[in-house]
Structures are given as C-alpha cells and as structure tokens.
C-alpha cells in the first residue's frame, strides 16, 4: 500500500493512471456511503449465491448418479472431457441474446462454469470409494440409498467440499465478468461505468472491493470445509495441532 501511495508522488507512474492509496481509499469511503454501491454488491452476491447453489446441487446429483453407475461413467466420460474445457465466456453472446442484461444471463455463466468444478470432484470422490467398504455394505444388504448415504457420501464429501471451494471462487469471477462485459447489474457493471466515465480512483476502489470479496469468500469456504470435515482424518490432524 505504501508503495502504491509513493509511486504516483515520485512521478514514476502517471498519477492519472494509478492514483495514490489515499485517493483510492477516499473513493472507497465515498462509495460505501452510496445506496447504489450496496445494491450492486447485493446483486453480485445474489448472482453468486444462487448460481453456486444451483451448480453444487446439480453437480452433486449428476456426479453421484454417473459415478455410481459404471456404464454411465464410461458413456459420459468423453462428453464431459469435451464440454469442460469450453471457456464459459464463449456463452456470453448467447446469454445476451437469450436474457439480455438480466440476472439470468449472469446465472447462466456462473452455473455453467462452476458446475464442472463440482462435477469433476464428485466423480473423483465416488471413484475413491473403498471396494471393501462397498462390498461389506452389499453383504449387509444395504439398499442403493443406504449405500449412497453411508458409504459413497462420506467418502466423496472431502472431494465435494474441494469442488465447492473451487466453484465458489470461480462463481465470483464469472459473476463479475458477466456484469463487466454484459452489463447486468452488479459490481462488474459499476466498474465498467467508472472506467467509461474516467473515474479512475472509483474504479480502483471497486477493484479492491472485488478483491476483498474474493478473500472473504475464500476464507468462508475454507472455514466451512473444516467444519463439515471435522471428522475426517486429514482435517482432524490439522485441528489437533
């Protein structure tokens, strides 16, 4: 921060392009007092939360289904491998055409991008089930649901949580990207507007806000992971030390 404060003063960098920290902070404080900023923040968070929830639910459901039926797994592997690397931004024009600048076009991108993160992790997780545990459950005549509930789910849960953590940050990136490029309401749209109207300190302030948002989401996801997996061996050791 001090470096950024000092740079424009020394004239090394043009102050118009990189305003000193004090100006950014002032702009940030001013933004915090505006209703517009808070609505944008709420919009971004709403798109993020809804998108993530849909992606996680769909990813877990589809993942457990595909993962537990070997034929399905073999059948879908190539399709998943093909669809996954398709950059989600390729869908931007489609989203604009279908939904315009509504919340739904942001959601389309967020869900598409984070769904794969969850799905792939769930697939790994289901694959990781101990065959002995599975056979034991079978010989105790646990039904399909019982096996999923007591054998597959606990094994897959650490993977699911990893998937959720990855998806949470991807979802934020895509939510803000969509708003930036499409102009659907949210922080991204505010940044685009600040840039277009040459309000440089405001733009920097908003970028800082997105960064803070990212850090917070990371921390929350990590805390949730530790909580949900407190029973798991890898975390148990960590918690103990």
């Amino acid at each position: 921060m001090l470096v950024i404060e000092a740079l424009p003063h020394t004239g090394l960098v043009n102050g118009r392009y990189l305003p000193p920290t004090s100006q950014i902070l002032a702009a940030l404080a001013e933004q915090l007092g505006r209703a517009e900023f808070w609505t944008a923040l709420a919009d971004t968070l709403r798109a993020w939360a809804i998108g993530l929830a849909i992606a996680v639910a769909a990813g877990v459901l589809v993942g457990v289904l595909i993962g537990s039926v070997p034929v399905l797994r073999a059948l879908t592997a190539s399709t998943i491998e093909f669809l996954r690397p398709i950059p989600s931004v390729a869908l931007i024009p489609l989203a604009v055409l279908l939904y315009g600048t509504e919340l739904r076009s942001t959601l389309l991108l967020v869900v598409y991008a984070s769904f794969w993160q969850v799905l792939v992790q769930v697939l790994y997780g289901v694959q990781d089930v101990d065959p002995v545990a599975d056979d034991t459950a079978r010989s105790y005549r646990l039904g399909v649901w019982g096996r999923i509930r007591y054998v597959v789910w606990p094994t897959a849960l650490p993977y699911v949580m990893t998937g959720v953590r990855l998806a949470a940050s991807v979802a934020l990136v895509l939510a803000i990207t969509a708003q930036l490029v499409i102009g659907s309401p949210g922080l991204g749209a505010l940044i685009a507007r600040a840039q277009a109207s040459n309000a440089i300190p405001v733009m920097y302030a908003l970028v800082v806000v997105t960064g803070i948002l990212g850090v917070v989401i990371n921390l929350v996801a990590r805390a949730a992971e530790r909580r949900v997996l407190a029973w798991h061996i890898s975390v148990r050791r960590e918690v103990a030390t």
Partner: protein, 258 residues
C-alpha cells in the same frame, strides 16, 4: 481389438447421440436464436475460412501464447524465489492472497489505462491474470519439498543452482503443472474477455460482433470454434504433462498398487 472398439464405442456413443438429437430437434426450428444445426455448420464452413483464421484466430492465439508464456516464466521464477526464502514468503503471502482473489477480468479496464487497447494490453492482461495460480502453486510446491532431500544436498555441498535444478524444481514440478493447468483456462477466458472489451480483431471481438449484428448462425459457429480451441488446448496440455510428469504418474501408480 474388440476391447478397443468397445472403448471407442463408449467414447463416441453419447456425443453422437447428442449431436443427432440437436440436429433433429432443431431441424425445422423457427426460433431465431436457435437455428438448425445444419445452418450453423454451414455458417461454420463459410465463416471460418483460411483468411478469417489468419485475421482473427491466429492473432488471438498468438496473444494467448505470449501472455501465457510470460505468466509461466514470471510465475515459476518468482515462485521459486518466494518459496525458497522463508522471510520473503511470510512478508508477501497476505498480499499475494489478495491479488489472487481479485477476479482477473476486472484487471482489463485497469490495464487498459496503462497499456492502451493494443496488442500489449491483451498480452499483459492474460499474463497478469494467469500468473497467480502458477506463482502460488510453485510456492506451495517448493515449500513441500522433502526436507531430508534438501538437507542431503546441503551435506553433499551442492551449490544453490544445482540444488534448484536437480532437487527443488523436479520435486515442485507436479504442483507447478497443476498451476499451469489452472492458468490455462484463465488465460483463455482473458483472451476472449480482453477482445470483447476493446479490440478490432480477434476471436472474442468477432463473436461479439456477430452477436451485435444478429448474425446468429455465425455467432453459434464462433462459440463452437471457441469450444474446440479450449478442448484442443487442454488435450495438448495433457499430452505435454504426461510426457514431462511421466515419472511422477508412474510413481503414484506404483505407490497405489503396493
């Protein structure tokens, strides 16, 4: 032979089925936004001619390659440095975490200020966005190098450079590759975004232009092409990874089966 055929059948069945379903359900589609697959494919052949490729696709890919390479070199070098020096790591870690958490696309307008909207801007945007996963994974990789190995090297009085080259770099390489893989998809996204934001050529620009002029089949063909490029890059990456990390995957397999 039969096993190979069966695997091929499994791999192809669903994609073929999906394409057939797409073809049939949209064949007499009157919906303006969802043209028949036939039309899209024809548009694909007509749109992405050799000329178009040279004018729009190659510049995009060149920028991507330049930005990605830059991110790789900077990320690994700085990562080795930070990972190797404990005090530097402690000093920089919070800052790095913060920079990584900033969604890379918001850097597009920021970097536009410095670098204008030309070629350099896009390369810088790609590099700045893609560098973080590489950097942080390298730091992690260096940190998790087996301490006994490092101490052994010290005992044998290996020079700093030799230690880096023969011990730390190979030991950290699986992590570095993970970072490079994450950076790959970020790089592609930024390539497209930076062109959608401000450009006069390139893949992202062309697709957005089609959308704005309501050339829907052409737009779909552009989406299709982007998908193919993403897929091709990930296949290429996997091939390189399997080569470079063959020893690591073999080691893992051996550990698992024992």
């Amino acid at each position: 032979m039969i096993r190979l055929l069966r695997r091929l059948g499994y791999a192809l069945a669903l994609p073929v089925l999906l394409l057939v379903v797409w073809w049939i359900t949209t064949d007499d589609s009157e919906n303006f936004y969802l043209p028949p697959l036939r039309t899209i494919l024809r548009a694909f052949a007509e749109t992405w001619t050799l000329e178009r490729f040279q004018a729009d696709v190659l510049p995009s890919l060149a920028r991507f390659a330049a930005g990605y390479a830059l991110a790789g070199v900077v990320g690994v070098t700085v990562g080795l440095l930070i990972g190797g020096l404990r005090w530097l790591r402690a000093l920089l870690e919070p800052v790095l975490e913060f920079f990584r958490a900033i969604p890379p696309p918001v850097l597009v307008p920021v970097i536009m200020l410095f670098a204008g909207i030309d070629h350099t801007m896009k390369v810088v945007v790609i590099a700045v966005g893609a560098v973080w996963p590489i950097l942080l994974n390298t730091v992690e990789g260096v940190r998790s190098v087996d301490e006994v190995l490092v101490d052994t090297c010290r005992a044998y009085q290996l020079r700093r450079f030799a230690r880096l080259r023969h011990v730390i770099l190979p030991a950290a390489s699986p992590q570095i590759v993970t970072g490079l893989r994450q950076a790959l998809s970020i790089g592609i996204i930024l390539m497209v975004i930076s062109e959608m934001f401000a450009s006069s050529n390139g893949l992202g620009y062309t697709i957005i232009e089609f959308q704005r002029s309501f050339a829907i089949p052409e737009m779909w063909s552009g989406i299709l092409l982007l998908g193919l490029i993403g897929f091709a890059l990930s296949v290429l990456f996997r091939a390189v990874e399997n080569r470079v990390l063959a020893w690591y995957h073999g080691l893992r397999r051996a550990q698992r089966s024992s």
